[in-house]
C-alpha cells in the first residue's frame, strides 16, 4: 500500500505569538518550529500501516527551508521518501491554494491513502484535508481517533470524534484521513533512523510541472492583531466559606450566569 502524509512546520505550541510590524503577518523573531503535532500522529499512523501491510510512505510538505527540516525528521522516523514544494513565488497563501497544490502532487504520486493532521496549529483552519478530498473526488474521514485498513487495502473503518460521540465510518479507499489526538502515540526518531536519513534526500517538487501558474488564493488577510485584553480580575479573600459565598453572589447578582 502506498501512503502519502502531508506535513507542515508550525511554531512550537509554547511560543509567544505577536503581530509583526507590518500588521498583517506574525513576528518571526525567536520562534522555534516543530512538526505540527497532529501531523506527527499522521506520520506515525502511516508507518504503522506500512509495518502491518507493507508498502511505501511518502511525506510531502509545502513551505520554505523550515519545511525541509520537518521532512528530514520524517525520513529519520522511517518514511521512505520525502518531497518538498518550495513555495518561493508564494502561490500558497490560503487553505484553498495549499489544497490545490497538494492535490496536484497527490495526483502525480497516486497513493492508495492520504493522511494529514486534523488541523495545523498555526492558522487553525481545519480546512486542507476536506479540500484535498474534494479536489481529488475522494471520500474523507476527518478528526479520526481510530483507523483500521482492510488487509486488501480497498476499504477502511474510521472512528471520528464529534460533539459528545464517536462516529464509526465505513469508507472506500483511496481516501483522505485526518488525525486527531488519541489515534496513536508518535514514536521518536532512533539514532539509526537519523543516520539512515542523512543518506536520503528531500526531493524537490518542480512547481512548474503542476500546471498551476497564478496565485490561487481566494482569501486575503487585512490585519493581524493581539486578542482583546481581558478586564482586570479580582481576588476573593477570607476562608473557603466566605470565598464561596462571595463567588456565588458575584456569579448570581453581578454576572447573572447562575
Amino acid at each position: 500500500m502506498k501512503i502519502l502524509v502531508c506535513v507542515k512546520q508550525v511554531p512550537a505550541t509554547d511560543s509567544r505569538i505577536k503581530p509583526a510590524a507590518d500588521g498583517i503577518t506574525i513576528d518571526p523573531a525567536g520562534l522555534e518550529y516543530v512538526i505540527n503535532p497532529y501531523d506527527e500522529i499522521a506520520v506515525e499512523e502511516a508507518l504503522r500501516i506500512k509495518e502491518k501491510l507493507g508498502g511505501e510512505v511518502v511525506a510531502v510538505g509545502i513551505g520554505g527551508a523550515r519545511a525541509e527540516e520537518g521532512l528530514r525528521t520524517c525520513l529519520a522516523l522511517g518514511c521512505d521518501r520525502a518531497r518538498i514544494l518550495k513555495d518561493d513565488s508564494r502561490l500558497a497563501t490560503d487553505a484553498q491554494s495549499v489544497a490545490t497544490l497538494l492535490a496536484a502532487i497527490i495526483r502525480a504520486e497516486s497513493p492508495d491513502l492520504v493522511l494529514m493532521g486534523k488541523q495545523a496549529v498555526d492558522d487553525d483552519q481545519m480546512a486542507v484535508p476536506s479540500m484535498v478530498a474534494e479536489l481529488l473526488d475522494w471520500p474523507q474521514a476527518t478528526v479520526v481517533v481510530k483507523l483500521e485498513i482492510a488487509p486488501d487495502g480497498k476499504t477502511a473503518t474510521a472512528e471520528r470524534e464529534i460533539e459528545g460521540a464517536v462516529e464509526v465510518l465505513a469508507l472506500q479507499l483511496p481516501a483522505v484521513i485526518s488525525s486527531q489526538k488519541g489515534l496513536n502515540e508518535p514514536r521518536y526518531a532512533s539514532l539509526k533512523g537519523i543516520m539512515a536519513a542523512k543518506k536520503k534526500a528531500v526531493e524537490p517538487v518542480d512547481a512548474s510541472t503542476l500546471g498551476l501558474a497564478d496565485s490561487l488564493a481566494l482569501v486575503r488577510t487585512t490585519a493581524v492583531s493581539p486578542p482583546p485584553p481581558r478586564p482586570e480580575g479580582r481576588r476573593l479573600d477570607g476562608d473557603a466559606d466566605s470565598q464561596v459565598r462571595e463567588l456565588v453572589r458575584l456569579l448570581h447578582e453581578d454576572y447573572k450566569v447562575i
Binding site: D14, G164, R220, A223, A240
Partner: protein, 325 residues
C-alpha cells in the same frame, strides 16, 4: 437583493444551537442591508424543522428529506448544500463551526470556489462584501480576513459567540431539494454516544475543568458534581488527559478543544500557555488554585487562592442551593 444561505445543522431530528446562531446572524445582516435569508436542512423526516428555521430568521427553507440522509455524511450533505446554493444563487454562506461544519464546509468551499473563512468570532459587511475576524494560534492573535475581489465567501461561526434570537410568528416558505444521485462512499455504520445527557464541551454555557491539582482520577467525580450543579460540561488540562485520568475528548487547549462558554471554572490548573489558548475567550473565568502566583490568575476575572478540596464541595452545595431557589 442579496441572499444569505445558512446550512442549518440537525442531528437526530433536532436542530443544533449553532444553526440557531447562524440563522440569527444571517437575519441581522440581511435586515441591515435589505437582503433575504434562506436555509437548507438535510436529513430524514426533517420537514417539521422548517418553522424552527423560520423563527430564528429564515425566509425560505430548502428541505432535503431522504432515508440516505438520516445519518450525516460529508458527501451526501455537501451535495444537498451545493444544490441549495445553486437554487438560491446565494452571495454568502453561513454555517456553525461545529464538527459537521468543520468537516463539510471546506469541502463545499473547494467545490464552489468560495473563500473559506472558518471559525469566525466577528462578521461584518453585506452581500458578497464581508470581512471577518478569526482567532489563530489558538487565540494568541486574531486575523482579519476577506474574500479576494469577486469571490463569494463561506463563513463558519464559532459556537457560543453569535446570539440566537427567535421571533415567534415568523414564517417561511419551503421547497424540496432534489436528492437523486447521492453517492456516499464514506458511510456512518455506528454512532457511540458518550454518557447520555451530558453537555458537550464546545456547546456548553458553563465548563468546569480539573487539572493536576485534583491529585487523582477519583476526584473527577467531585469536578463532575460541580459541573452538574451548574448544568455545565466537564473539561480537563492535558496533564490529566496524558496521565490517563480522563478521556481526551475533555481536553481544553491548543491541542484539545477551543471553548468560549459564558463561565469557565479552572480547578487546580496552572494556566500553561497551551491551556489558556483554548479557554481565554470565555466570557467569565474563575480560577481556584492554591498557588497565588499561578499564571491562570492572569486571565481570571475572579480568583480564589486556596485548597480546591475545601472550596469545591462548598461551592457545589451553594450553587445547587441558588439554582434550586
Amino acid at each position: 437583493m442579496s441572499t444569505i444561505l445558512v446550512v442549518a445543522e440537525q442531528r437526530g431530528g433536532s436542530m443544533k444551537k449553532t444553526a440557531h446562531e447562524a440563522l440569527s446572524q444571517a437575519r441581522r445582516m440581511a435586515d441591515a442591508s435589505g437582503g433575504r435569508v434562506v436555509a437548507v436542512i438535510a436529513g430524514s423526516g426533517i420537514k417539521g424543522l422548517a418553522p424552527e428555521a423560520a423563527r430564528f430568521g429564515a425566509d425560505h427553507v430548502y428541505l432535503a428529506d431522504h432515508s440516505d440522509l438520516a445519518d450525516y455524511s460529508t458527501e451526501g450533505y455537501t451535495l444537498v448544500a451545493q444544490r441549495a446554493f445553486q437554487m438560491s444563487a446565494a452571495d454568502l454562506v453561513l454555517m456553525g463551526a461545529s464538527a459537521m461544519g468543520k468537516d463539510m464546509a471546506p469541502r463545499l468551499a473547494a467545490r464552489l470556489k468560495l473563500a473559506y473563512l472558518p471559525d469566525v468570532v466577528e462578521l461584518t459587511g453585506s452581500g458578497a462584501l464581508v470581512s471577518a475576524v478569526r482567532p489563530m494560534y489558538a487565540g494568541k492573535v486574531r486575523v482579519s480576513v476577506q474574500p479576494t475581489d469577486g469571490t463569494r465567501a463561506f463563513v463558519t461561526l464559532r459556537p457560543n459567540v453569535f446570539r440566537p434570537l427567535p421571533v415567534e410568528g415568523r414564517t417561511a416558505t419551503t421547497e424540496a431539494v432534489d436528492t437523486a444521485g447521492l453517492s456516499i462512499r464514506a458511510r456512518v455504520v455506528d454512532t457511540r454516544a458518550e454518557a447520555a445527557g451530558r453537555v458537550e464541551l464546545t456547546e456548553a454555557d458553563v465548563i468546569v475543568s480539573g487539572g493536576r491539582g485534583i491529585k487523582g482520577p477519583e476526584s473527577f467525580a467531585m469536578i463532575q458534581e460541580l459541573a452538574d450543579a451548574f448544568g455545565g460540561a466537564l473539561g480537563a488540562s492535558r496533564a490529566v488527559v496524558d496521565a490517563g485520568w480522563i478521556d481526551h475528548s475533555h481536553q481544553v487547549g491548543q491541542t484539545g478543544k477551543t471553548v468560549s462558554p459564558g463561565l469557565y471554572v479552572a480547578c487546580g490548573i496552572s494556566g500553561a500557555i497551551q491551556h489558556l489558548a483554548g479557554m481565554s475567550s470565555s466570557k467569565i473565568i474563575v480560577a481556584i488554585n492554591k498557588d497565588g502566583e499561578a499564571p491562570i490568575f492572569k486571565v481570571a476575572d475572579i480568583g480564589l487562592v486556596g485548597d480546591l478540596f475545601d472550596i469545591i464541595p462548598k461551592l457545589t452545595a451553594e450553587v445547587k442551593r441558588i439554582r434550586a431557589s
